[in-house]
Amino acid sequence: MEVILSHYYDIASVILFGIGFFTLLLHRNLIKKIIGLNIMDTSIFLFLASKGYIFGRVAPIVSEGATNAELYINPVPSGLVLTGIVVSVSVSAFLLALAQRLYKKYKTINLDEIIVLAKKEEE
């Protein structure tokens, strides 16, 4: 119990990671897979961002004369997550474009059907 209380963000992000992971593996619908991937990514960002927080400190907007590190939270995870968010949005745009392209060709967004149709087409 104590462990859960001191690690609640970690556990939440692992649960979200699991949900995203299962969606990615088990759903055959491409759009769902893509949203699942996004959830997986955001869960990792939640995990990483929670590492920067320190109780009772404020956002790292350093005002003049108060450059004491004791006052602010850790800025590093925020910066890393910022990078990650942009990476994740560009990747999902690419995936969505691929899904649309496949729909245009095969009229379905179920990955299994698409694979079967593509194999049939090749023969």
Binding site: V86, V89, A93
Partner: protein, 83 residues
């Protein structure tokens, strides 16, 4: 504060589970928007305003618009069920 955080985390997980079980793609995308907004509030609580702004603009804004456009292109906006 901790109660609020727990409530938000619960909501986050509920959103994720609801997304997995939703049969309409449109519902899934709207749930995903809600998920992103909750995430941005959580980051605000964690004192990372940069992240909160970015997630609200990118996650709930741009990604969702792109998802809606994709749904329109794959004809998933009409009808009752998609899968």
């Amino acid at each position: 504060m901790m109660v609020l955080e727990f409530a938000l985390i619960t909501f986050l997980i509920v959103c994720a589970v609801a997304f997995t079980f939703s049969k309409r793609l449109l519902t899934s995308v709207i749930i995903f928007m809600a998920y992103s907004l909750i995430m941005s509030i959580i980051w605000l609580i964690m004192e990372s305003p940069d992240l909160a702004i970015t997630e609200a603009a990118v996650g709930a804004g741009v990604t969702s618009v792109l998802l809606f456009l994709a749904l329109k292109k794959v004809n998933a906006l009409k009808g009752k069920k998609d899968e």
